[in-house]
Amino acid sequence: MRPASRTSRRVLLPVAITAALAAAAAAALLPYSSAAPSAAAAADGLPHTVVEVSPGACGHGWDRPHAGRQVFDLRNTSSDAAEVYLTDASSGALLGEVEGLAPGVQRPLQVVLGRGSYVFRCLPEDADAVTGPTVRITAGPATGGPAVLPVTEHDLIPPTLEYQKWVGQGLGRLVGKADALRDAVDRGDLAAARTAWLDAHLAYSRLGAAYGAFGDLGDAVDGLADGRPGGVKDQDFTGFHRIEYGLWHHEAADRLRAPARRLADDVRKLRDRWADARMEPADLGVRAHEITEDTVTFELTGHSDYGSGSSLATARAQLDGTAEVLDRLRPLLEPRDPELPGIDRWLARTRDDLDALRHDGTWPAPGDLQVEQRERVDADFGGLVERLAGVAAVCDVRRTS
């Protein structure tokens, strides 16, 4: 259906390494000792400290620790790209990070520090993490900027497996619903087909979390006509929305038989392929955020409506999908995301407002809502999606070793 989800950060690393190699030679020429008192020159007016990133001297250069808002200019003096974390030494919470710092490159990290102990950790590509010296700040405000306990891949494996299992069960049920749609179209009973279509499409939308992981098959099942030269008439336009277009635009049943059969087949393939696939743990947090981004972009605008007017029903199903992901992540989020109660509150508010708009089991199309109703739904999803953005950031996978 939608464009592939956010690229996992690790996919970016080979690029960083290439850049690193290119920069390596130049790096040797850079005067490492040029750590001039940069505060005077800093355009941002903040105190700057140049800190070294290398296996042998990780965190070196932080000689005059002080509290407050400040910038560390992290300079990679090694020959490998590295990640750098600044962590609270007592809690292990992460205050800041720079990813893919190429050799010879210097990049700023702005943080707010309170009293406490801090360490830099340098994590070179394909090598063990190195922990720098512990630095103590004894004067100044008690607390600093936001710090979050890192989430590791290991942390994310159990919820991802659970979630994957839940999706697998949903796909199993979807097979029966897609078959029912196919059969109704085969019989030429288009009224029954419209009911079956909605039932099957909502069942799929509830699994929306997994769209990126469904790849090409996901596109075949729930893709839009976007990017197809023939638009809705394009030969290759298939899946739920192709059938929706026909069912709600007086197309004859025979013209829908092939797409309905194809959908039933694709759903079956999807179920089978899912059973053998391994979902990327790094994707789970992104899902928690991006299902709702999809709702805002495709459903609340009516962009994905090919005639059924069921965008709000889809939005409601996607909300259920988000709740499923969040429930799996909850043990990780509780100690980490102070917004979690706010997320729960806005999730409930959005759900209640959508439900209040349902009459006789169906929702009006977004375009048919009164201004006040529409603004309320847009506000609900807007408030929710702003809060969900943090879940993806908190669940971004961090290295431990």
Binding site: A43, L46, V112, G145, V148, A379, L384, A393
Partner: protein
């Protein structure tokens, strides 16, 4: 729109310079109280200093017009009075930071970046002002504010020449953002929308610009005429107290003291039609010469028209816009208002003509004594064939935020 008379542009320019100097000092203070202690790195385009956010009245009213503006009307979706207070608190915080400029606080690793970055790492002040006004609908039964409605505030009247389009009218809250650069305006709108998304939703929005003086004097509107020549002198605080600000004991609710009625009218100009009209006819409709901006009985823009010597309108027609808007009789002095309009350009009409016009904006102490009175005088003026008002609303610009502990609507919700 074009029209009412008074003290000229020259004093206005002197004030602009004075405000610039005062603004620079206040800007430095603003940076200390805002998110950053940083002195922004400035490029030539960003050298405009901060306009002070705190004061008895909001900025963006007497402030000499910045080059660019966005007028955005919102409907409040806050569920209750507590959430409305939260909304006004967030608006206050964001405007306090954005108008002062500085370096946004780091968000840490658990959130996306705190700023969009579209103005670079250090947000320039760029003379940004954000002026918040409320509409009559905010005083319905949702927030228990019915008894506190400013007594003249109501849904915008429909005048005989109006063609209101619902999607472009009214709103619970109006945010007027003005700055010297369009990216500064957009950055501020984007930041505010991000922080308030759940509690209010945009109802309509229109962007505008003020043209540079061509060649001098008041800026021109899209009809090619100078506009704003007759504005009252904003440096005359006594005059402003009489014409602009709601004071105590005037029958308005106490909380409204220091506020001002704001009228915004989206007026489409049928410029293709206008361009097919002779300049003589254009000038007789306006009452001024197009090239100089002088009244038709004068030779320079700021020459006062002498209506008493032209009682039949032989030189300046009686139904010219300028003369109807402000007949300059003692009885009409109290109906003068402060215009702060912006030209707009929003693409095309269905017939292929340009969709351009004026975001008419004015401030006054009394909606009826001032705007509505003037508007009634203008009914049926010859110029109505060339303009079409279709949107906007009546609003009440809140009193100013008095200091770091105060917030927008503080007295309203107290």
């Amino acid at each position: 729109m074009n029209g009412s008379e008074g003290v000229g542009r020259r004093s206005f320019l002197r004030r602009a310079v004075a405000a610039g100097v005062g603004g620079a000092a206040a800007g430095a203070v603003g940076l200390r109280v805002a998110e950053s202690a940083a002195e922004p790195e400035r490029t030539a385009a960003d050298q405009s200093p901060a306009v002070p956010f705190h004061g008895t009245h909001q900025a963006g009213i007497l402030t000499p017009p910045q080059r660019h503006a966005a007028f955005t009307a919102f409907d409040v979706t806050a569920r209750d009075r507590g959430e409305l207070a939260e909304l006004l608190g967030v608006l206050t915080e964001r405007l306090r930071f954005l108008t002062a400029g500085g370096s946004p606080l780091p968000a840490g690793v658990g959130e996306p970046p705190s700023d969009s970055g579209m103005l670079g790492p250090v947000v320039p002040a760029d003379r940004l002002t954000g002026t918040v006004a409320v509409g009559a609908s905010l005083f319905d039964d949702r927030y228990g504010l019915a008894a506190l409605r400013p007594r003249r505030l109501r849904t915008m009247d429909v005048f005989p020449d109006d063609a209101p389009e619902d999607a472009w009218c009214h709103g619970d809250l109006l945010l007027q953002l003005c700055a010297e650069n369009p990216d500064t305006v957009l950055h501020a709108l984007r930041d505010i929308a991000r922080h308030t998304r759940g509690l209010m939703q945009v109802r309509w929005r229109i962007d505008g610009f003020v043209s540079p003086p061509r060649p001098g004097g008041s800026p021109r509107n899209l009809l090619g005429f100078k506009d704003g020549t007759g504005n009252p002198d904003t440096a005359d605080s006594g005059l402003m107290d009489r014409l602009l600000w709601v004071g105590r004991g005037a029958g308005e609710p106490d909380w409204a003291t220091g506020g001002s009625y704001q009228v915004v009218r989206l007026i489409r100009m049928l410029v293709e039609f206008w361009d097919r009209v002779s300049v003589n006819e254009q000038e007789r409709m306006i009452g001024r010469a197009r090239d100089t901006g002088a009244p038709l009985d004068g030779s320079a823009e700021f020459d006062p028209p002498r209506y008493t010597q032209d009682p039949k309108g032989d030189v300046i027609p009686l139904d010219s816009h300028m003369r109807l808007a402000n007949p300059r009789t003692p009885a009409d002095a109290a109906s003068r208002l402060l215009r702060r309009g912006y030209n707009y350009d929003r693409g095309l009409l269905p017939n292929g003509d340009l969709d351009v016009g004026l975001v008419f904006c004015c401030f006054q102490q009394d909606l009826d004594r001032q705007f509505a009175t003037v508007q009634k005088r203008l009914a049926g003026e010859p110029m109505t064939d060339y303009i079409k008002p279709y949107g906007g609303g009546y609003f009440f610009a809140l009193p100013g935020v008095r200091g770091p502990a105060d917030r927008l609507g503080g007295a309203l919700l107290a």
